[in-house]
């Protein structure tokens, strides 16, 4: 179930220090455009990967951050759901480039928020069983792995960002978007 290579990955492999970046908010255009594919071994991709992890680390409650959220219209994101109570299986902290969903099943509806949409939360139906493929920044290794529950939701949310979609675009109905009442 757990991909050991991915589980063992950490930002130390990148060999560069991450810089904390500003998070872009909707309606910024970069959040609504399909991101470009990247060369995972390119130095700018490696630096972006480190920056995404650094920015995620300093953002309270943040379990994932995609490149468009820091103003870069490319398909790179980081995820770390290890500390979240809804998590079942997880792969710790990792960054994926050019990720795609290979298989998805068992949809469930749950509430989502997003640092780029600070005033709203929304009920979104997502698969809870997921197979994802993508490339690791730095080495460019392709990984294909299975995950579930909250990590599956986080991955779909971040892959959507890379494709120019917000959780708002997947609202389950006219009453599925709510004013945010608590901020972390």
């Amino acid at each position: 179930m757990i991909d050991e290579r991915l589980r063992a990955w950490s930002e130390d492999e990148l060999g560069v220090a991450g810089v904390v970046l500003d998070v872009v908010r909707a309606p910024a255009g970069v959040l609504s455009h399909d991101g470009a594919r990247v060369d995972p071994t390119a130095p700018e991709t490696v630096q972006l990967a480190a920056d995404l992890v650094a920015t995620m680390r300093v953002s309270p409650g943040c379990v994932g951050l995609a490149a468009p959220q820091v103003g870069a219209g490319v398909k790179v994101f980081c995820v770390d759901v290890s500390a979240h109570p809804k998590t079942r299986d997880h792969h710790g902290t990792f960054v994926l480039c050019n990720a795609e969903v290979v298989e998805a099943s068992r949809n469930e509806k749950a509430r989502e928020g997003c640092m780029s949409v600070p005033d709203f939360t929304g009920d979104v139906k997502r698969a809870t069983r997921l197979v994802v493929t993508g490339e690791l920044p730095g080495t460019g290794e392709r990984v294909t792995f299975e995950t579930n529950a909250f990590e599956a939701r986080a991955l779909q949310h971040e892959i959507d960002h890379c494709d120019g979609l917000l959780f708002l675009d997947r609202a389950a109905g006219a009453h599925a978007i709510h004013a945010r009442k608590t901020y972390l």
Binding site: P27, D119, D169, A174
Partner: protein, 172 residues
Amino acid sequence: MTLHAITVLGHDRPGIIAETTDRLADLGLNLEDSSMTLLRGHFAMTLICAGDATDADISSALSPLADDGTLTVTVREVPAEPAPVATGSTWVLTVHGGDRPGIVSAFASEVARVGGNITDLTTRLGGELYLLVAEVDLPADADPDALRAALDAAADRLGVGATLREAEADDL
């Protein structure tokens, strides 16, 4: 037995729903459908109730609510509508982008142009982000891809993003 459409709109405060429904209950009226929410801090309630009271009875019973001038109450008898028979498909339209006048009218017009019926619609403004989410019934002969293209064109004109997805039913 008659049906009455009632609206209560105005400055929000605790107790509006309790006072309104208490007075309607005293008249023996049954709340059949209702929608109650806050819009930019204004309380807004629309309800359909059934019973033997007249519009005049209901207006008289609810008039104390409007005494201090902060609430507006309207009462109107309405005919019973037959439940529509679903023949087409149901879709969810999401639009988000920078706030500007004309977003709702632009997208509602495209939906109407293909004979689509908006059955539920919410708009919200959060910071600089304007959001529209609508549930849309499309007739059986509508072409969703053509509608999507028209919505995309409207989105480009307005500088916003729009997505149209078929509503997913929860089969239990």
